[in-house]
C-alpha cells in the first residue's frame, strides 16, 4: 500500500518507520491501562533509535570509501556508548559505567578481534561494522540484563548476605549464587536465539545477504556463525561484568555497599 503512495525511497522509509513507531506506542498505551508506565522510556528510545540509526547509515554511506582501519574508531565509539547505556540498568552499583565498558570491550572486542583475525569476519567496513555492531549490541543487552538481575538479587537477599557476612563469610561466598543466577538469566536470550535460529526467526543479516545475492546455504551458515559469536561475546561479557561487580558491591571492610536505601 505504502509503495504506491511514496515514490521516494527516503519518504517510504520514514512512513514505514512512523507506522512501526505507532504500533509500538499503541502497545505502550495498552501497558499503561495495566499501570505499567513505559511511555517516556519508549518514546525516548524510539526517537533515539531512529536518529541514531539514520546517523549511522549516513556515516556508513560516507565511510564506504574510507580506509579499513577507520572501523576500529567506530567500533570503539560503539563500545563506549554501549557501556554507558547498559550501566543505567545497574542503579546504585558503584563503578557500573567502568565495569560495563570494560566487560563489553573485552567480551565483544575479543570475539570480534579473534574472528576478524581468523578471517570469519571480513575486514571491509561494510562487513566489520554491521557484524561488530551486532556483537557489541548483544553484549550490551546481556551486560544490562546481568547487572540488573544482580542488583535485584542482592536487594532481595540483603538480609541473607549480611547474615552470612556477620557469620564471618567472605563477600564472594555470600554473593556467589546470586552472581551465578545473574549470569544464567542474562544469557537466556542469546541461547534462545541460537536454539530458535531458522525455526522461529530468520535474522536480518541472512535476509540482507540473500537480497544482495549470496547463496542461501552460505547465508544460513554465516548467520549461525554470527549468532554463535554473539553467544560467545555475551557469555564473556556477562562473566566479566558479574565478576567485577561482585568486588564493587563491597567495601574493603567487607561491608555490603549495594543497598536500596540506608
Amino acid at each position: 500500500m505504502l509503495n504506491s503512495w511514496f515514490r521516494s525511497e527516503l519518504a517510504l522509509g520514514l512512513a514505514q518507520a512512523a507506522i512501526a513507531s505507532l504500533l509500538a506506542l499503541a502497545v505502550v498505551l495498552l501497558a499503561r491501562r495495566r499501570n505499567i508506565h513505559l511511555e517516556s522510556d519508549a518514546a525516548i528510545a524510539l526517537v533515539r533509535g531512529i536518529v541514531q540509526i539514520v546517523a549511522v547509515g549516513s556515516i556508513l554511506a560516507l565511510l564506504l570509501k574510507a580506509p579499513r582501519w577507520t572501523s576500529v574508531f567506530l567500533l570503539t565509539g560503539m563500545i563506549l556508548a554501549a557501556g554507558s547505556i547498559s550501566a543505567k540498568r545497574a542503579k546504585n552499583i558503584p563503578g557500573a559505567v567502568k565495569i560495563s565498558t570494560y566487560s563489553i570491550a573485552a567480551g565483544a572486542g575479543a570475539v570480534t578481534a579473534i574472528m576478524t583475525w581468523a578471517g570469519v569476519i571480513d575486514t571491509a567496513i561494510t562487513s566489520l561494522i554491521p557484524v561488530g555492531s551486532m556483537i557489541i549490541a548483544n553484549a550490551m543487552n546481556t551486560n544490562g540484563l546481568a547487572l540488573n538481575r544482580f542488583r535485584a538479587e542482592v536487594l532481595a537477599h540483603t538480609g541473607e548476605i549480611e547474615t552470612a557476612l556477620a557469620l564471618g563469610a567472605t563477600p564472594r561466598a555470600t554473593i556467589g549464587r546470586y552472581a551465578e543466577t545473574s549470569i544464567h538469566s542474562s544469557l537466556i536470550p542469546a541461547i534462545d536465539n541460537l536454539r530458535s535460529l531458522g525455526i522461529v526467526w530468520i535474522p536480518g543479516l541472512m535476509t540482507g545477504m540473500l537480497l544482495s545475492g549470496a547463496r542461501p546455504l552460505y547465508a544460513a551458515i554465516y548467520q549461525f556463525v554470527v549468532i554463535a559469536m554473539i553467544l560467545a561475546s555475551s557469555g564473556l561479557t556477562s562473566l566479566l561484568s558479574t565478576t567485577m561487580i561482585q568486588a564493587h558491591a563491597f567495601s574493603d571492610a567487607d561491608q555490603l555497599l549495594l543497598k536500596g536505601s540506608d
Binding site: G159, E160, E162, T163, A164, L165, A166, L167, G168, A169, T170, A173, S251, A253, D254, Q255, L256, D262
Partner: protein
C-alpha cells in the same frame, strides 16, 4: 579511648568510642560512647528511628562509622580483619535469615568459613543448649518463628563469639516464644559468661534482661547506667 574502669575492675570487653554515622548528609548517630563489661547484658533502648539497630551494626562493622571507633578488648577494631571481628562479635538479627537446607548446615556455616568442620556432637550440644534437640536434620523451611530464632542463635554461638549482639530478637515472635527466647538468652549469658548487647524497643524486656542500658534519642545517647537507675528513675 574512654576507660571507665578502675585499676581493680575488669577491663571493658567492648568500648564504643564517640561513634557516629552520617549517610547522605543525614546524621544517623552522633558521638555515642559507652563501655560493655565482660559477662554483662547491656540493653540499647529507644524509640523507632532513634538509631538503635544502626548502632548495633557499627559494633561488628557491618556498617562503617563516619566518626569514632570501637575497641574490642582494647584493640581498635579497624586493626582487626573484618571476618575475625565478626566471629568474635556475633550477631543475631531481628529476622533469622536461615539459609536453605537443614539446621545442621546452618550451624556449620560459620565455622566452615574458616575451614573448620563442626562435629556432630557439637551440633547436638548447641541444639540442646537452645532447646531444640533432634532438630539437626530438620529443613529450615518447616520451622516455626520461635524455632528459627533459636537456630539463628545456635548458629551464631557455633562461632564461639566473645560478644553477642542481639537486634530485637523477639520482636517478630508471639508472647510465649518471646519469653522462651528471653529465658534462653538469660541462661546462656549466666551459664557461659557471655557478654551481650541487645537492642530492644521494649523497656519491660530491658528491665527483665539487662543490667545496664543506654538510651538513644534521635541518634544521640541521652542516658546510660544501671537499668534500675535509668528506666525506673
Amino acid at each position: 579511648m574512654n576507660n571507665t574502669s578502675g585499676p581493680n575492675q575488669p577491663q571493658q570487653i567492648l568500648q564504643a568510642d564517640r561513634l557516629g554515622r552520617v549517610v547522605g548528609g543525614k546524621t544517623i548517630l552522633a558521638d555515642v560512647s559507652f563501655p560493655v563489661m565482660p559477662g554483662e547484658m547491656l540493653g540499647i533502648v529507644g524509640a523507632s528511628g532513634s538509631g538503635k539497630s544502626s548502632l548495633l551494626r557499627l559494633l561488628n562493622r557491618l556498617d562503617e562509622p563516619t566518626s569514632g571507633t570501637v575497641f574490642l578488648d582494647g584493640t581498635d577494631y579497624r586493626q582487626l580483619p573484618p571476618r575475625e571481628l565478626r566471629r568474635r562479635v556475633g550477631m543475631v538479627t531481628q529476622r533469622p535469615f536461615l539459609f536453605p537446607g537443614d539446621v545442621a548446615f546452618n550451624l556449620r556455616f560459620g565455622p566452615a568459613q574458616r575451614g573448620e568442620n563442626l562435629a556432630d556432637d557439637e551440633v547436638t550440644r548447641l541444639l540442646e543448649q537452645v532447646g531444640l534437640p533432634d532438630f539437626a536434620s530438620r529443613d529450615t523451611a518447616v520451622l516455626s518463628g520461635g524455632e528459627q530464632q533459636r537456630v539463628s542463635l545456635a548458629r551464631t554461638l557455633a562461632n564461639r563469639p566473645e560478644v553477642l549482639l542481639l537486634d530485637e530478637p523477639t520482636s517478630a515472635l508471639d508472647e510465649q516464644s518471646k519469653l522462651g527466647i528471653e529465658e534462653l538468652v538469660g541462661r546462656l549469658v549466666r551459664d557461659q559468661g557471655l557478654t551481650c548487647v541487645m537492642v530492644t524497643h521494649d523497656r519491660d524486656q530491658a528491665r527483665r534482661m539487662c543490667q545496664q542500658v543506654v538510651v538513644l534519642e534521635a541518634g544521640r545517647l541521652i542516658q546510660s547506667g544501671s537499668t534500675s537507675e535509668v528506666l525506673d528513675a
